[in-house]
């Protein structure tokens, strides 16, 4: 593999930004946001430069690496701090730094009233650095560093306003649930090392087909657990809704466009594992399918605009995971949807932020309405994102999501039918809840309080939204034109197992999908545009709505199954430590002291009893002698 010496700058620049901003403290308040943005932008610049270089190289020479230094080297366990930039990671690099830079710019204005804006930019830079490490690391262990790094950044950013206890709790919840996923990644790495003696991507890829299927299945499942944690997939999805506690740009960048898609990256990156472990692959598909429905259902009931979008994110990533679980045919579509989703969802989140900015940080959509007039640019950019997520041609989502639906149907047999139908229904529900968001927010009558003075956001905020909107419109077309992305990624994946059995013609799939979308939109229209929307959430709703409002009982479930027993166990152990273990030691002490006090009684002060004791001793000796002589 060709080596490069400049990859490290991708990471080093934002990392330096973060370090400077954190160490400089308040001294950097004046210019911190500028430095942060500049660092992110320069990293984007390096990324573009690398893309150009890569385009210039012939296909087989496109991946390049850089060994920074020997990181861990013990026995057979050798891990270098090494970077790998190939066709897959460059997509992520550009998405992360590109969208990241836009969000930096947006944040300059969005956070301008926060006295801790510098710290915010420091965290953003830290996140960019960690996320780049995640996608650039050339081994699972390097990836792991970035993996936990983004978890840390996410924790810091969700809890950015941690003076509110609920936000602090949300950040902790996110970190802990991510750690469960991280544990999965640890296991995967251990399995890789124990079975293949290596943890680098190249090494595992080389040895994977020699390894036993059981090992690979185990590794695959553990990778899936990791992916589920980071990408808020079932059953580790519960943190994402709460993560909306972070400032909205964070939600856009981390909890929509980039970090939460790391799971998709991981599965795609580990294609060589999953291709050889069908059981694990099947599980991936199942998890994706469940989550896409799960998220979609939650989305229908949320009145908090950010939580509705978060549910949507969960659902869309479900699509990606599902696609990634479909094997070589699906990887490219998963990545494509990931990229287009990055644009439109980030755009919509920024739009939501813009709305909140104009509405005194109100997030309840029932208190919105008719904002179209007050925030035209936001409306347009949000609307373009809306069309994209619905999959209306020619917007971005149309290309990516239809591909996934089509691939799902093509998976073959009952599996194909089930997956296809699931994705179609998901599309309909998506259309429903997104339309609901649009209607509640931008149309209808105003329902906001009098002290709200909705206004359009300053240009620093709408400019990034506009750029992302352009992405929402065009990215799908550009990426799929001539199967551009598919061909670009093609050399990375093992295609020998590919089967080209079409259940439906693409056009049929598109038609079905569009029909479903139309149905979803129509229902939403009937339900929200045709009748008055109450500014408080109605209580007399069906049990399903209630359950959906409570995130399908996910928190209740976790609470009942993990938290309560965990707390009980902790309390018990704390008590037992004192009572049983320490108690046993104290008990021994007390026995010693007690027997001491008892024996003390022998010393009763009477000289005759002392003489008796001597006499008894003498008699005992005689007795012993008698025994000996006998």
């Amino acid at each position: 593999m060709t080596t490069s010496t400049s990859l490290v700058y991708l990471i080093a620049l934002p990392l330096a930004g973060a370090a400077i901003l954190l160490l400089a403290g308040r001294r950097a308040d004046k210019w911190g946001h500028l430095l942060g943005t500049a660092m992110s932008a320069s990293s984007f610049g390096v990324g573009l430069y690398q893309l150009m270089l890569m385009l210039d190289r012939p296909t087989e020479q496109r991946p390049i690496g850089q060994k920074l230094f020997e990181w861990i080297n013990v026995g057979e366990f050798k891990v270098d701090a090494g970077l790998l930039l190939d066709q897959l990671s460059i997509c992520f690099v550009l998405l992360i730094t590109g969208v990241g830079t836009l969000i930096h710019i947006y944040s300059i204005s969005y956070m301008s009233h926060d006295k801790d804006r510098r710290r915010f930019f420091a965290y953003l830079n830290l996140f960019i650095a960690a996320m780049l490490l995640l996608v650039l690391g050339d081994s699972y262990l390097n990836l792991y560093v970035g993996w936990e790094g983004v978890g840390l950044a996410s924790y810091l950013l969700i809890g950015f306003w941690n003076q509110k206890p609920a936000y602090a709790t949300a950040s902790k919840k996110a970190f802990v649930m991510n750690r469960i996923g991280d544990m999965g990644l640890s296991f995967a790495i251990m399995i890789a090392f124990a079975t293949m003696g290596t943890v680098s991507f190249a090494g595992v890829q080389e040895h994977a087909h020699h390894a036993s299927e059981a090992a690979l299945t185990g590794m695959g499942i553990m990778l899936l657990v990791a992916a589920a944690g980071k990408s808020a997939q079932f059953p580790l999805q519960a943190w994402l809704g709460d993560a909306m506690a972070g400032p909205t740009p964070v939600s856009a960048l981390i909890h929509a466009a980039t970090m939460v898609t790391a799971g998709v990256y991981l599965i795609t990156r580990s294609n060589f594992v999953f291709d050889a472990a069908p059981t694990a692959q099947l599980l991936v598909v199942i998890v994706g399918a469940i989550t896409l429905m799960f998220g979609a259902l939650i989305g229908t009931a949320k009145d908090d605009i950010k939580k509705a979008l978060a549910a949507s994110t969960m659902s869309q990533i479900g699509y990606m995971i599902l696609a990634a679980g479909l094997g070589p045919v699906g990887y490219a579509f998963a990545i494509m949807h990931l990229l287009t989703h990055g644009f439109f969802k980030a755009g919509m989140f920024l739009g939501a932020g813009s709305v909140m900015h104009g509405m005194n940080d109100e997030v309840n959509m029932r208190k919105y309405g008719a904002l179209r007039k007050f925030m035209p640019i936001t409306f347009v950019t949000f609307g373009l994102g809306y069309l994209a997520i619905l999959g209306v041609p020619p917007f971005a989502g149309f290309y990516s999501k239809d591909m996934i639906i089509e691939t799902a149907f093509n998976a073959g047999g009952a599996k194909g039918i089930i997956l296809g139908v699931t994705t179609l229904i998901g599309a309909a529900i998506t259309a429903f809840y997104m339309t609901r968001v649009m209607i509640l927010t931008f149309t209808g009558t105003k329902r906001w309080d009098d002290d709200a003075h909705p206004h359009e956001s300053p240009w620093l905020m709408w400019l990034p939204m506009a750029v992302l909107a352009i992405g929402s419109v065009s990215s799908g077309f550009l990426l799929s034109r001539g199967d551009a992305l598919e061909n670009w990624l093609h050399p990375l994946f093992d295609h020998h197992a590919e089967h080209e059995a079409h259940l439906f013609e693409p056009i049929v799939v598109s038609a079905m999908a569009l029909t479903m979308v139309a149905i979803g939109v129509a229902i939403a229209f009937v339900k929200y545009a045709r009748q008055e929307v109450s500014s408080v959430a109605p209580e007399n709703v069906s049990i399903f709505t209630k359950i959906a409002r409570q995130d399908l009982m996910q928190d209740r479930f976790n609470e009942a199954v993990f938290m309560r027993p965990g707390q009980a166990l902790t309390t018990t152990l704390v008590a037992a430590d004192d009572a049983v273990i320490d108690g046993a030691v104290r008990g021994v002490g007390q026995v010693a002291m007690g027997s001491g006090s008892a024996l003390r009684g022998l010393q009763n002060g009477y000289v005759r009893s002392y003489a008796a004791m001597i006499l008894v001793g003498a008699i005992a000796l005689i007795g012993a002698i008698w025994v000996v002589v006998q």
Binding site: L22, G25, F69, E70, W71, I72, N73, V74, G75, E76, F77, A81, L141, Y144, V145, W147, E148, G149, L152, Y155, N162, Q163, K164, A168, T169, S171, K172, F175, V176, R179, D182, M183, S186, F187, I189, M190, I191, F193, A194, T195, M196, G197, T198, H207, H209, H210, A211, S212, E213, A215, L569, T570, T571, L573, V574, D577, D578, I581, D582, V585
Partner: protein, 502 residues
Amino acid sequence: MKWLSLLMLLPLAGAAIISALPKSNEKAAKQAALATTLVVMAATIAMAVGFQRDNVDLQFVESYAWIPSFGINFALGVDAIALVLILMSTILAPVVVLAGWNEAHGGRWSVKTFYVLILVLETMMIGVFAATDLFLFYVIFEAMLIPVYFLIGGYGTGERSAAAVKFLLYSLFGGLLMLASIIALYVMSGAQGGHTFDLDKLSQLQMSSTTQNLLFLGFFIAFAIKAPVWPFHTWLPDAAKSATPGTSVLLLGVLDKVGTFGMIRYCLTLFPEASKTFTPLIMILAVISIVYGAFLAIGAKDIKRLIAYTSISHFGFITMGIFAMTSQAQSGATLYMFNHGFSTAALFLVAGWMIARRGSSTISDFGGLQRVTPVMAWSFFIAGMSSLALPGLSSFVSEFLVLVGTFTRYPVHAIIATFGIVLAALYILIPVQKALHGPTTAGNENLKDLNLREKLAIAPVIAIIVVLGFYPSPLLNVINPAAKHVISQMGFTDPVPSIGDK
């Protein structure tokens, strides 16, 4: 150059100087202590530079006849493992002195006495790792209890004397068990070619497997109490809660390492067969320690007890690494000992500053410190992240090495232990949330942030944590040959990757 005896003499010289100072001049005592520890640190580093890292024999060897009629020598020497631990101890010493500049003031006795005790303890810390004569090791092992006992009982807080006594009795009990084993070894050596305490010669003794098992237990229980391994741990939270932060750092960071160090140096070397016999049991104890310590840390209401419980969990990892008998786990365990010293030091020192400012060590008394005292809060946070083994910080490398090394031979143990990392997230983030985050609660509004001295004390610790997280090679390269040597002495080789099964 007689490096090791020089290292042991320097702190004693410092102690002598301090005791010659007038009692009223507390500042001079502190400065002298700081200067001494810095000199010792410099000397240690100078010595470490000359260490030949590929040579697995003992280096810087010295030996003087001490009690010839028992075959006892004042024999010193280090391998890489001992060197690393001495390095850790001597780096921590000035940090502790600087960080705890004022912690001697609440004590029963003078500031002078405090630093004399600290310096005497430093001599013993060096000696206990450098001793190559079993008798010398034992003498220091036991004698170092005394200064610590007085440091806890005389300068601590709360139930300090009860905690000091508990600490002393537990340790003495363990020590006496070890003494019984040592006596047996000594007598056997007399029967097999002359009384000796030389480690090399003792390791060649012939003994029945029953004897070996019993003697092993004598040593292991002593070390397990010291380390501490579940269920011998209950002294630690009390001692750590009552000791001053600086003392706690030395206690958890250095003294407890004597336990794990002893397991490598003495249990494995002297009783290889018994070590193998007991490995299944010890692995279980280690895993219990990991999970149990973590749960108790989650349930802890007092910040110092919490840190103590996290240490129990961490010592579980170290013990597991030692007995897993793979080069990754063994190297990881030694590296873990080093790293744990610093991450616990950071946690304890910052917690100590927090407690000193707030006047309480109950976690729920704090709140919203991040906004009041950002530097202090950040220091605590980074230390906490190191404790939960966040990648990029030093503990991660060692913890992961232990896990991956254990997994290749004991997958089930490693899997259960890995659950510890989720629990670690909880036990660190719960205090972080309660103390640093949330609204600033009453009583915390006017706390002062770290001053320059405190920043100077904590900065090197955090720097070591970060640098070794990214670049552990300098240490690992020193540790690896020694760890490998331990494994091969025991007749183990790393499990071979199972590729080709298919």
